[in-house]
């Protein structure tokens, strides 16, 4: 909490580095990009370390009246801070992931990634509605170029679809924002969070925001841009798309739609649950029959994000905390899985599952990491996926036992498609000659896998480190939603604990402390 404008600094460093990258050759561009993202990561860690848990809701706030009508206002709460840390953590890994596979127009590529980092941090740190919108929409430009220039065969179709789909969602939100600013007379997010919009207005505002966030998330049935974008984007593009950009949608749910329009949120709970339930089952089944690895993981992302939306709309502490942990966990794990695909794609230049098989024999280290992330994606206890899914499903159960029932099938189906993928790629006979010739991980790939694996395990074993900064914010949102909250069908009642239950200080005990209080 020193006077250092740490958030502005985190935005300025990649911005300056991006400009520098445009004017240099490939090699220095890579170094500049890596250096800048690492510095930003260090600043991100500093942010996390200096975050005062239980302190003010908004920390590291900065404000400058630069734009007249709206402000350069930055600040983070626990949720935004964790998402910023996630972004800065993934960025250097993305740069490393494209170290060798990107050979053309490296300067522009690195510049686009650095711009993306600026925008991601900006989205999570913005405390002004218009500033948020500018960052939120701005992400279209670098992602459009990344998919279109360095993408696969059908990259142009995918780039257009991504751009127009997400733009169409967002513009409706812009009109809603104008109406909100007019009604509340301010663009400051902390003020708007506590402003009570008239209930009938909330309905319209909620729908407009929903159009934008649902596309960004993406929710069924507006998810169709995602498989195309993922399949065509370069590896690092997919990593950042799945890792962070999808979280912008769920962040929008938590930051705007739930606390700003609590009545409308309660009114549309059924819609969110229904869409999430369909998404979990439908996209899992679709994932099961994919022959393209990236497409499979893309569909699994849609299924995981559906559990996030359902968890958020459970309107209780566990549901929202679980959703947040899934967001972070999915950010790490799906990025890692896309990198798993990238590693073998770099060697064989195909994403066809049937072209591989038996990799466990000649790439044991790779098989190990792939196994870990597969398990984390399924939600095996001890990995990050378990914590998030357990918590959010427990929360969903309180709100609607049917939704919980259907969403839980997603875990089973998730195990099915992920294990099936793993079996076909890694196990089996090593028969194909070109696959036999594939070398195991090189040091650069180790350097990417190790941090990802460490975080996935850390989050699975001791999630309290990640939950602690966010708990206060979740409590605030739950309190804000409480008056509008519909009664759940589970009728959870408090248990009758034996006298003086042993105080267990382990992480999950902490995380569940609100369980059964209803």
């Amino acid at each position: 909490m020193s006077g250092l404008p740490i958030l502005s600094l985190m935005l300025a460093i990649p911005a300056i580095a991006a400009i520098a990258c445009l004017f240099v050759e490939a090699k220095p561009a890579r170094m500049i990009a890596l250096g800048a993202t690492l510095v930003d990561f260090a600043l991100g860690i500093m942010l996390w370390a200096n975050f005062d848990i239980g302190g003010a809701q908004w920390q590291f706030t900065e404000r400058a009246d630069l734009f007249g009508r709206f402000q350069w206002a930055l600040g983070v709460d626990g949720v935004a801070m964790m998402l910023i840390v996630l972004s800065t953590f993934l960025m250097p890994l993305c740069i490393l992931a494209s170290w060798e596979s990107i050979k053309q127009r490296v300067g522009l590529y690195m510049a686009m990634f650095l711009v993306m980092e600026v925008i991601m941090i900006g989205v999570f740190a913005a405390q002004d509605l218009l500033l948020f919108y500018i960052f939120f929409e701005g992400v279209l430009i670098p992602m459009y170029l990344i998919i279109g220039i360095w993408g696969g065969q059908n990259r142009i179709y995918a780039a257009f679809k991504f751009f127009l789909y997400t733009l169409l969602g967002s513009v409706l939100m812009l009109v809603a924002m104008i109406a909100m600013i007019r009604e509340a007379g301010t663009t400051e997010i902390p003020v708007l969070l506590n402003y009570n919009f008239p209930p009938e207005m909330q309905t319209w505002l909620w729908l407009a925001f929903f159009a934008s966030m649902a596309v960004k998330m993406p929710m069924w049935p507006v998810h169709t841009w995602l498989p195309d974008a993922h399949v065509q984007a370069p590896t690092a593009g997919s990593m950042i798309l799945a890792g962070v950009l999808l979280k912008m949608g769920s962040y929008g749910f938590l930051r705007f739609m739930m606390p700003m329009f609590p009545d409308a949120s309660a009114q549309f709970m059924w819609l969110v649950f229904a869409l999430s339930m369909v998404a979990v089952v439908y996209t899992s089944l679709v994932a099961l029959v994919q022959s393209d690895m990236k497409k499979l993981i893309a569909y699994s992302s849609v299924a995981h994000m559906a559990i996030v939306t359902a968890g958020l709309y459970a309107f209780n502490q566990q549901g929202i905390e679980g959703a947040l942990i899934i967001m972070l966990s999915h950010g790490v794990v799906s990025a890692a899985l896309f990198f798993c695909v990238g590693v073998i794609y770099d060697r064989l230049h195909t994403r066809e599952i049937s072209r591989y098989g038996g990799l466990a024999v000649n790439m044991p280290a790779y098989a190990l990491f792939f196994m870990l992330f597969t398990m984390a994606s399924i939600g095996l206890p001890g990995t990050s996926g378990f914590v998030g899914e357990f918590l959010s499903l427990a929360g969903i159960y309180e709100a609607s036992s049917w939704a919980a029932f259907v969403c839980t099938t997603g875990i089973i189906l998730g195990a099915a498609y992920m294990l099936y993928l793993y079996r076909r790629v890694v196990f089996g006979e090593l028969t194909k000659d070109d696959v036999k010739a594939m070398p195991d991980l090189n040091p650069r790939e180790w350097a990417i896998f190790v941090p990802l694996a460490a975080v996935a395990l850390w989050m699975g074993v001791y999630p309290e480190s990640f939950l602690a900064p966010m708990r206060g914010d979740v409590t605030t949102v739950v309190a804000r939603l409480a008056p509008a909250k519909p009664a759940g069908d589970a009728h959870v009642t408090a248990g009758k604990p034996k006298a003086a239950a042993p105080a267990h200080g382990d992480a999950k005990g902490e995380a569940h402390h609100a369980g059964g209080v209803q």
Binding site: F67, G68, I134, F135, E137, G138, G148, I149, I156, L164
Partner: protein, 479 residues
């Protein structure tokens, strides 16, 4: 009378300067490009200084037919600046064909536009408009030996004359039913109720002016004239006259018909129709275009539609939004047309076909990046500055209760985004073709492109307080 003359310095300077330029051309010969160009540029600069010196003065001169105020001043500065650039870029384009008339005609057109922007009487309105139009007809066919250019001039003239006729008919109706040509007098008559005659007057006047801003359904001439006219002239048509006609329309609607009262309901629905029709047709019509100048013509139709959203609000906020929009639009348009002028094929001919831009970002990274900025800005994708004026017009519309109009506008803007990003796709994603395109631009042009691209990137946001203050003081004159 003499006192009035002291308040119209900008117009006097332009008149005299234009005549001097013409004389220089006649006596020094057409070869002295630098000489008469300099005269024209100095004239425009001096007129701009005179406008700036008159800021803060609010007066009505020549028996109330011409206004000297901040609103006109804002428009005039923009018009003179755009004309200045259009003269400066011309010689290299025309080469041997450059003649003194070009500079003189632009100066006279600027004079006409200045009168349009400050007219307070239906007669001065018409005189200013015709002065500008006559100069424009000649400019469109400036390349006498070029079929396309002659065709453009003829087409512009015929349709322009028709529009002038419609406008005059409307003016005569307004005069007949209100008994005066003075804006304030017409407004007084309107306040007492809009009868059928006045209503027809409004419709015809707006239709005549809609031709000048090329709003749908009076836009047909735009793609052909933009394509056929020499590129510097097209740059001119797309920038300065748009400002003049839009400010004129604003003044007529707000001053002569009133921002409130019975007339508002009458003209508001016309403007809403024009605006939606322009946005939709401008967006859809551009999709199939292969020629960049035609495409930019549709883009200008589309942009005019967005400006009309602000005007439809009929509030001071709406007018401020229109003025801001005009400024940003002029910068973007000039930048985009300058980009078009940079590219030449091996024989030195202009490259106007969009597919020929394939792979441009590899050969001309700076130029392609600047064009990408212009296009994303026209598509109003933040963080580029083109987002801001669009936000302002939507805000004005929502605040005036026109939410469905704003929603329709934003949804159609997505269609518009499609063709802008399609050009970026050609420049950035497509493979290089066989044909070689080289950069045939001068350093000055490069600098103008660079500065406008920089301003339209995030830097523009820092100017919002300044722009807002200028637009507010200009718009407050009308309310």
């Amino acid at each position: 009378m003499t006192a009035d003359l002291a308040l119209v310095w900008p117009e006097l300077i332009l008149t005299i300067g234009g005549l001097i330029t013409l004389m220089l051309g006649a006596f020094a010969g057409d070869r002295q490009v630098g000489l008469y160009q300099l005269a024209a540029l100095l004239t425009l600069a001096a007129a701009a200084v005179a406008v700036a010196a008159l800021f803060g003065t609010e007066a009505s001169v020549f028996s109330g037919t011409l206004a000297v105020d901040g609103f006109g001043g804002f428009a005039k500065l923009l018009i003179y600046a755009a004309s200045f650039v259009c003269i400066a870029i011309a010689p290299r384009y025309f080469g041997e064909a450059m003649r003194a008339e070009y500079s003189a005609l632009i100066v006279f057109a600027a004079l006409g536009m200045g009168i349009m922007a400050s007219s307070r009487d239906l007669m001065t309105l018409y005189v200013g408009l015709e002065l500008n139009s006559l100069a424009s007809y000649v400019l469109a066919s400036f390349m006498r030996n070029d079929d396309r250019s002659s065709e453009a001039g003829l087409k512009y003239f015929v349709l322009g004359a028709l529009a002038s006729g419609i406008l005059l008919f409307g003016i005569s109706l307004l005069y007949g039913f209100s008994g005066t040509t003075d804006f304030a007098g017409v407004a007084t008559a309107m306040a007492g109720g809009v009868n059928i005659g006045l209503l027809f007057g409004i419709v015809f006047v707006v239709a005549g002016l809609a031709f000048k801003i090329s709003a749908v359904p009076f836009h047909m001439w735009t793609p052909d004239v933009y394509e056929g006219a020499p590129t510097p002239v097209t740059t001119f048509f797309a920038s300065a006259p748009k400002v003049a006609a839009m400010t004129l329309l604003t003044r007529v609607l707000i001053d002569a018909m009133g921002p409130a009262g019975p007339a508002l309901a009458a003209w508001q629905q016309i403007i809403i129709f024009l605006s939606l029709a322009s946005i939709i047709l401008g967006a859809v019509g551009a999709i199939g275009q292969k020629n960049i100048k035609r495409l930019l013509a549709y883009s200008s139709i589309n942009n005019v539609g967005f400006m009309l959203i602000g005007l439809a609000a009929g509030t001071q906020q709406g007018v401020e939004a229109v003025l801001t929009y005009l400024l940003v639009y002029v910068v973007t348009t000039i930048g985009a047309f300058l980009f078009v002028m940079q590219l030449r094929d091996a024989d030195g001919r202009m490259v106007e076909s969009i597919p020929a831009y394939a792979g441009l970002s590899k050969r001309q990274p700076g130029l392609a990046a600047a064009m990408a900025v212009f296009l994303f800005s026209l598509a109003a994708i933040p963080p580029l500055f083109g987002f801001w004026p669009k936000y302002l017009v939507f805000e004005a519309a929502v605040n005036a209760g026109l939410v469905p109009l704003a929603v329709a506008g934003v949804v159609v803007s997505v269609i518009g985004a499609f063709y802008y990003i399609a050009i970026i796709k050609t420049m950035y994603f497509d493979e290089e073709p066989e044909t070689v395109i080289r950069n045939g631009g001068s350093r000055v042009e490069g600098a103008v492109i660079g500065v406008s691209a920089l301003w339209l990137s995030v830097i523009g946001y820092l100017f919002i307080p300044m722009l807002a203050a200028a637009a507010a003081s200009a718009a407050s004159v009308l309310f």
